[in-house]
């Protein structure tokens, strides 16, 4: 099977869905790039990270729309177009910019169907880049999916690898509800086997990335990679860790997590987001309520601290959960 990067997998999903359905359009800042430029106006960027490269050239600028810097209007336009027959994929360059356009997501798109008495369909996808690890500083590095996960009406997707990124994005584009698709900037260059043909991965289905019996590690987005690494390390010491990649924070596959915890009796949740009111807290609370009798140890979280993301790479490394930090918590819990 061909090996593709996370970036290429996303590009391929967009291309294939645009080929399949001409209502699928892309809207964002510099998703093509070069408009009006002295070089003649040809596509010059394909997104700041090159994820949409080639799409404007292939599908034309009517379907790959460069916008002014105006996130409220971008997301609102995409939501309104979704409500009226299009299937827009809006790009919010960095997830941190959600502050500029949250109303269009939170009060508008997320609530249409419910508040319009079930009459609306809003097949909107907002692709956005999350996460630390690039020294990008406090306003370009945040993992903001918890605040979106708590909004009824939104689906929130957190792919941890190229295979999932493609399948989940295709599902997102075909889905009739508003979907926030969170791409981790530190995963863009990671690669794995990705089929050439289109495929959709249903939402709300976690993946078990390592089978094990001693402890359950639940990871989100980039943290799944770290969890896998810890499981592989500990396996050498005869410790058997089960790793679960939740893949979507809303809907959340509680069943897979509970089943695993009932088997292992121990749970550590690893989350790059801040610790308060987080997806990690939610998972811990579900396990505490519904698997209490099976737990042999307290539930632990490994998360970022309750601070902004510092610019200094030295401090950023301290801020982030790492395989080493996860390993310490896991080993402690196994001794409990």
């Amino acid at each position: 099977m061909p090996i593709k990067t996370y970036r290429e997998a996303i590009n391929e999903a967009l291309r294939q869905e645009m080929e399949a359905n001409d209502r699928v359009i892309i809207i964002g800042e510099d998703v093509a790039g070069g408009a009006g430029g002295s070089a003649g106006g040809a596509e010059a960027a394909g997104g700041v990270m090159g994820i949409t490269a080639g799409l404007a050239t292939k599908f034309g600028r009517d379907r790959v729309i460069d916008t002014p810097i105006t996130e409220s209007a971008i997301i609102g336009m995409a939501a309104g177009a979704a409500l009226t027959g299009m299937r827009p994929v809006a790009e919010l360059m960095f997830a941190d910019f959600i502050g500029v356009c949250l109303d269009q997501i939170y009060n508008q798109a997320a609530k249409f169907r419910y508040m319009f008495g079930g009459k609306a369909r809003t097949p909107l996808v907002v692709r956005t880049m999350i996460g630390a690890g690039m020294g990008a500083g406090p306003q370009h590095s945040q993992a903001i999916y918890p605040m979106l996960t708590m909004i009824p009406g939104l689906k929130v997707i957190v792919p941890s690898n190229a295979y999932d990124a493609k399948g989940l994005l295709i599902q997102a584009i075909r889905d009739d509800d508003p979907v926030i698709f969170c791409e981790h900037k530190s995963l863009l260059g990671d690669s794995c086997e990705v089929p050439d043909e289109p495929y959709a991965i249903p939402f709300g289905q976690a993946a078990i990335t390592r089978k094990g019996s001693d402890l359950t590690l639940v990871g989100i987005s980039r943290m799944v990679k770290f969890c896998n690494e810890v499981a592989d390390r500990l396996q050498k010491d005869g410790i058997s860790i089960e790793v679960i990649d939740i893949r979507t924070t809303s809907p959340l596959d509680a069943a897979t997590i509970l089943e695993s915890v009932k088997k292992t009796g121990r749970l550590v949740v690893v989350d790059e987001a801040n610790p308060m009111c987080s997806v990690a807290s939610e998972i811990a609370s579900i396990a505490a309520s519904d698997a209490f009798d099976y737990l042999d140890a307290p539930i632990k979280k490994v998360t970022a601290p309750h601070t902004p993301v510092p610019a200094s790479p030295t401090l950023e490394a301290l801020y982030l959960p790492t395989p080493d930090k996860i390993e310490v918590v896991v080993r402690d819990l196994l001794e409990y």
């Binding site: 800042e29 510099d30 790039g33 070069g34 408009a35 009006g36 430029g37 002295s38 070089a39 003649g40 106006g41 010059a44 960027a45 700041v48 460069d66 916008t67 002014p68 810097i69 105006t70 996130e71 409220s72 209007a73 941190d96 910019f97 502050g99 500029v100 690039m134 020294g135 990008a136 500083g137 406090p138 306003q139 370009h140 601290p305 309750h306 601070t307 902004p308 510092p310 610019a311 200094s312 790479p313 030295t314 401090l315 301290l318 801020y319």
Partner: protein
């Protein structure tokens, strides 16, 4: 408006300092020693300096952008502490926690570079409101790119400033590009006309001409200080580098930046004007250049040698107090 020799020398020194700071950072960035993203201000120096030379440290505020180094230097932020911040070191202006896009120095009236495009204008409204209510006579100046001009926050801020008659100067820097997209595509109508639609007096000037910026800013600041409310200046600007250090600039015609450096270099234009008018002689400016080179050399060396931030600082200063 005739500037004194000292004023001219000061303006030249600041512009040269910005240029050297940025050109040197570009080299350092490409060699891989500078963390994060870097947006260079080279080519736009006369805009920041043309207005900030007329602002006071203690009562006047500026709000900046992702391309903020020049604004900071023009407003008097310590160059060495800035360099340390860009290297994210312990003794940086923000302790290494902000980096290039968040350099802030409230004691110098610098409300922060800003990584959110359109983030600063509303904050500048607040500084202007404080100045008005506290009767300091202070003025607030947000710097706004041609791209940022399209954010709702800018429209909202101009309207609010006009409604409340706040002492402000909206300083637009139209360098023709927002990232990789030209203003001719993304910015409809004219920025000057947008300001005028709010009844805000507005002019367009050549941002490579220090004297044109200075004069427009002088009038606008005077109006603000005298209770005349906000003004706007659209400065045509010239971005010598790409959007960020390392940008391949595929959207720009070959030779465009070379042409800008040849024909729209605010430092050359300044030097020509002051020598032709016999206000300064070239030797004086050359002497400043030597001093500035040394300053930047020292700033880089000290930044590289500065320690990393203390690990505990990660947890500090989230709040003033948390109880």
């Amino acid at each position: 408006m005739q500037l004194s020799r000292d004023q001219l020398l000061s303006a030249y020194r600041r512009m040269r300092t910005i240029r050297e700071f940025e050109e040197r950072l570009h080299v350092e960035f490409l060699s891989g020693t500078v963390p994060g993203f870097l947006h260079l201000y080279s080519g736009q120096e006369a805009i920041a300096v043309g207005i900030c030379e007329q602002l006071d440290d203690d009562r006047d505020y500026i709000g900046s952008t992702h391309r903020g180094h020049g604004h900071c230097i023009a407003k008097g932020v310590d160059v060495k502490a800035m360099m340390k911040e860009i290297y994210c070191k312990k003794n940086g202006v923000c302790g290494g926690k902000g980096g290039s896009m968040h350099i802030a120095d409230l004691d110098k009236g610098m409300l922060g570079a800003n990584a959110i495009v359109g983030g600063a204008p509303p904050l500048a409204l607040g500084a202007a409101l404080s100045a008005k209510l506290l009767k300091t006579g202070g003025v607030a100046v947000p710097f706004i790119g041609d791209g940022a001009a399209n954010q709702g926050t800018v429209a909202e801020s101009m309207n609010m400033a006009a409604v409340l008659k706040l002492p402000m100067v909206f300083m637009f820097e139209n360098n023709g590009y927002a990232e990789f997209t030209a203003a001719s595509y993304a910015t409809a109508g004219s920025i000057e006309a947008r300001a005028k639609a709010y009844n805000i007096p507005a002019v367009t000037v050549d941002g490579a001409d220090f004297f044109a910026v200075y004069e427009a800013a002088r009038e606008a600041i005077e109006r603000a200080r005298n209770g005349g409310g906000p003004s706007a200046i659209e400065a045509k600007a010239y971005r010598f580098w790409g959007h960020f250090a390392g940008d391949p600039q595929r959207y720009r015609a070959a030779g465009e930046t070379k042409e800008l450096r040849e024909n729209h270099d605010c430092l050359k234009i300044f030097a020509d004007k002051v020598t032709q008018a016999a206000l300064l002689d070239q030797a004086e400016m050359n002497a400043i250049d030597v001093e500035v080179m040394q300053l930047i050399e020292d700033a880089v060396a000290e930044a590289k040698a500065d320690p990393q931030p203390d690990p505990e600082s990660l947890y500090k200063d989230v709040y003033v107090s948390y109880n």
